[in-house]
């Protein structure tokens, strides 16, 4: 049961990652790859032990935890990038207001 639940969560993250392709290819790709890797390890836990052993992590459970940490980090990074986009929209708005309402020095009527 828990495997199906985790797999569904993984699919949501993959869908989210695919949607982010247009905004940041790096973040999108890493989200999909990390989620797929985590999904594989959920269904084949024995592999996680082998992989963990190869990577020098120790236990497969630790490996899954690391995947989770990596995905969390990427999502935070993505939120930061989204915030940057929002800031750019604010900048455009502020710029429009500034340019359309210039204050001209006395005696100057040349501004738009």
């Amino acid at each position: 049961m828990i495997k199906i639940f985790l797999s569904l969560l993984g699919l949501i993250v993959i869908a989210y990652g695919a949607r982010e392709w247009r905004n940041s290819r790096l973040v999108s790709l890493l989200l999909v790859v990390c989620s797929l890797a985590a999904g594989v390890l959920v269904w084949f836990p024995a592999w996680s032990d082998q992989l963990a052993h190869l990577a020098g992590v120790g236990r497969g459970a630790d490996m899954i935890l690391y995947c989770y940490s990596a995905i969390s980090f990427l999502m935070i990074l993505n939120l930061g990038l989204k915030q940057r986009d929002l800031h750019q929209s604010t900048t455009r708005l502020a710029r429009y207001i500034a340019i359309t309402t210039p204050r001209l020095p006395k005696g100057d009527s040349s501004g738009k």
């Binding site: 905004n23 940041s24 790096l26 973040v27 990074l77 930061g80 990038l81 940057r84 800031h87 750019q88 604010t90 900048t91 502020a94 710029r95 207001i97 500034a98 340019i99 309402t101 210039p102 204050r103 001209l104 020095p105 100057d108 040349s110 501004g111 738009k112």
Partner: protein, 233 residues
């Protein structure tokens, strides 16, 4: 190179100054620039003090951001406004009194003589008055970094005194709102293959300008901004 023989009509030049909390000095800076150039555009970047009113009193056209966005954003606003006016050259100029309007004349003369699109001021080819040693090393490090990342052979990467021919000002878009815009402008020059030259200028450091200048932490923030911009691509 002799540039004195080639002159540019000062009425065809816009001086763009980004200002935040510069109420105590901006009027004098504007008046000083007005001696040589009739169109001074001050972008008040959401200052809580009287920067805008002082700049207007000094004789500048004042644009005001309703909120503080950063020097890069303010310069882009000023450049866009200037391009809407009847000018051939757009100059970026610092608000803290570090720059000399006479150097702008020299840069314009150089561009008129050599036909290049951008003139970048260089304090390391020219002169500095009262520059702290720590600032010198920070700027040298920034220049090395910029030479590596942009491929441009510049000697002064973070000099706010720049002169753009109209076509160059139109080609460049500053997206870095904060201080990373200086590196971004150089990246744009390299990417758009704009022709450029450096012109020796004099930078005057005062206690006021030193207090407003970049710190080591500021340099770190610039690096982060540039890195995030690359991830976004």
């Amino acid at each position: 190179m002799t540039t004195a023989a080639v002159s540019v009509n000062s009425k065809r030049v816009a001086i763009v100054i980004a200002a935040y909390n510069e109420g105590s000095v901006i009027a004098d800076v504007v008046r000083d620039a007005l001696r040589l150039f009739p169109l001074i555009v001050v972008v008040d970047d959401g200052s809580p003090d009287d920067t805008g009113a002082a700049a207007l009193l000094g004789g500048a056209v004042v644009l005001r951001h309703p909120i503080n966005l950063g020097q890069g954003a303010a310069l882009q606003t000023g450049i866009e406004y200037a391009l809407g006016q009847d000018v051939d050259f757009v100059v970026t100029f610092d608000a803290d009194g570090q720059h000399r309007p006479e150097d702008v004349q020299k840069m314009l003369g150089t561009l008129a003589a050599n036909g290049k699109q951008v003139a970048l001021g260089s304090r390391f080819l020219g002169e500095t008055v009262g520059m702290p040693a720590s600032r010198r090393w920070l700027l040298k490090a920034a220049t090395v970094f910029t030479r590596i990342t942009t491929g441009l052979r510049v000697t002064d990467a973070h000099n706010g005194l720049r002169t753009f021919r109209r076509d160059a000002a139109q080609a460049i878009t500053i997206r870095q709102n904060r201080m990373a815009h200086a590196s971004e402008i150089l990246e744009e020059i390299g990417r758009k293959k704009l022709t450029y030259c450096e012109v020796p200028v004099t930078i005057r450091y005062t206690d006021y300008s030193k207090a407003k200048g970049q710190s080591g932490l500021g340099a770190f923030n610039i690096l982060i901004d540039l890195l995030v911009a690359r991830i976004r691509k």
